[in-house]
């Protein structure tokens, strides 16, 4: 793993204009991403998903992005044309969505959807595309790729659907993969399988992974570094291995309110919040 920086974000802010006035979803977020696995943790509404979407230029139309810097290699992501964005999305930065039940097109076969992602960015003929898709399905450990290739999304299970999602997003060979709660919609037993497959492929291909989750344990076991977000701010940045030495009271609170196997707590402590954290 090298220290070469792929993506550099400085002072990112995302504001949504709503009928009830502006909502500041993300405020002053900065981070550098190398070929590593970065976790972003936080409660719902902490701005972690919006941070991921902003990197892909897919913030909703009523959202406004400002940043001092959003540099991806030699590209300034702050003012990319629609055409240029399409060359980045899928091909160089990609994203795995939360629930395969909703994130796969219900009326297209799985094969067609994977091939579509492949052929959008690679000049291959139909036979090569199909072979590539089948290989990719095998790579995400699907036992009968041919059958899944010809299936529709509703015909496969959630875990299978998420493997299809991984195959589809990895087939154009991106450099950065954002995984937005990739296992939250899955059964606990399937979660680890899917994470292991994702982890293997990311290492194999030397990609950078941005793993967005509310699950501290999952993040700490699959990531090198963790950003903890609270109300649009990054309150703490810490190595995953040193999570138990977290300094910020919010991170400590998040850790403390998780049940432990040797559970001596009669009652889990309630997470306390202080207004000052949101201003830091």
């Amino acid at each position: 793993m090298t220290n070469e920086t792929l993506l550099s974000v400085k002072n990112l802010a995302i504001t949504f204009s709503t009928s009830k006035g502006p909502v500041h979803a993300v405020r002053g977020v900065s981070f550098d991403l190398g070929r590593e696995r970065l976790g972003i943790v936080g409660e719902s509404g902490s701005g972690k998903s919006q941070t991921g979407r902003a990197i892909l230029g897919l913030t909703a139309a009523n959202g406004k992005i400002t940043a001092d810097q959003m540099q991806f290699h030699d590209l300034d992501l702050r003012n990319l044309s629609k055409r240029d964005w399409r060359k980045v999305r899928g091909a160089r930065i990609s994203m795995i969505m939360q629930d395969p039940k909703y994130s796969l097109n219900p009326v297209m076969t799985i094969g067609d959807q994977i091939i579509e992602a492949y052929r959008e960015h690679h000049k291959v003929n139909a036979t090569e595309a199909k072979r590539g898709a089948l290989d990719m399905l095998a790579a995400v450990k699907i036992r009968d790729p041919e059958r899944v290739f010809n299936s529709y999304p509703h015909e496969v299970s959630g875990g299978m659907g998420q493997r299809v999602m991984i195959a589809m997003m990895l087939i154009p060979d991106p450099e950065i993969l954002i995984a937005d709660e990739p296992t939250s919609a899955l059964d606990v037993t399937v979660q680890l399988q899917v994470m292991a497959i994702l982890d293997d492929l990311v290492r194999e291909r030397g990609m950078a992974l941005v793993f967005i989750s509310h699950d501290l344990h999952l993040v700490s076991s699959f990531c090198d570094r963790v950003l903890v977000m609270y109300q649009g701010h990054v309150v703490e940045e810490i190595r995953a291995s040193e999570l138990d030495q977290a300094k910020h009271p919010y991170t400590q609170g998040l850790l403390n309110c998780l049940p432990k196997m040797d559970g001596n707590h009669a009652e889990l402590p309630v997470l306390t919040r202080e207004a000052s954290w949101a201003e830091a």
Partner: protein, 355 residues
Amino acid sequence: MFAVTRKASDGRKRARLFSRTGASLVRIVFSLLITFIGLLLVTFLIGRVLPIDPVLAAVGDHASEQVYQRVKEEMGLNLPLWQQFFVYISNVVQGDFGTSVLTSNPVLEDIKRVFPATLELATLATIIGVFLGVPAGVFAAINKGKWPDHIVRIIGLAGYSMPIFWLGLMGLLVFYLKLDWVAGPGRLDAFYVDFIEPTTGLMLVDTLIEGDMDLFWNAVSHIILPASILAYFSLAYIARMTRSFMLEQLSQEYILTARVKGISETRIIWRHALGNVMVPLVTVIALSYANLLEGSVLTEIIFAWPGLGLYITNSLLNADMNAVLGGTVVVGAVFIGVNMLSDVLYRLLDPRARR
């Protein structure tokens, strides 16, 4: 050994598939039968309940009591109601709707003559409505709240609110009388009418079968105005529904997935979103088609179009109950048929509906 078991399981699978298809076929036929009997019962009862005396219509005001009674017996109207219904059903099953008082032809003959005219008009109108309405709806949806959306909305609203007879008359006035772009009322110029042998009854098809391009273009210039005016109404409806289905689909997660993949916006809209919009839209289109197949009375009157709507209305005004009932049964049968067609299309478009 592996191959053998595989084959056996394949065979079983196929057998199961066949029995399932067979069972669903039986179910479809059964439900069709029930619907059709219900339809016959309702039309029959309505026909008997109406304060119209078919005997009087047949014999006229000046017939003697004796003649009146004889004709009543001949028509089977002296029998109890349930017996009349069974006689009616057994006749209908044999394709006998009785004889029209007005035209003195068997009703079935009359309908065979007038229905193709309506079918042709309705089909062309629906084709125009779909090919303009769907893109208009999509266009409005992707420009939601901007001027293209407002324009489509205004055109649609005008389509809803303008009375069709006025629109038809204005159309004739402008495009036929003033501009002379289209031909006038009727299906063909009077001069041509005897030239054509009705094979299918569809003028556009018959003229093509005979290979007479002059006649074909004449038929086109006659049908295009009434078809466009009918199309305007279904267009307004189809565009409106397409817009709202499209907006719903564009907010779905799989659209975001497609954007993440770097797919072009054109492909996202026309392949991904429209593929899903077509599923509910098929029902909307089928219903508006079925409505047109009923025959649009006003349009048919204004354009002297010898269709089903005109036929039923004329029969009704002349107390020609056989013709009215026959026509109503045909309309009902058309509705059932179109509904079945949309069911089949639904299954083709939505893999989740294939069971």
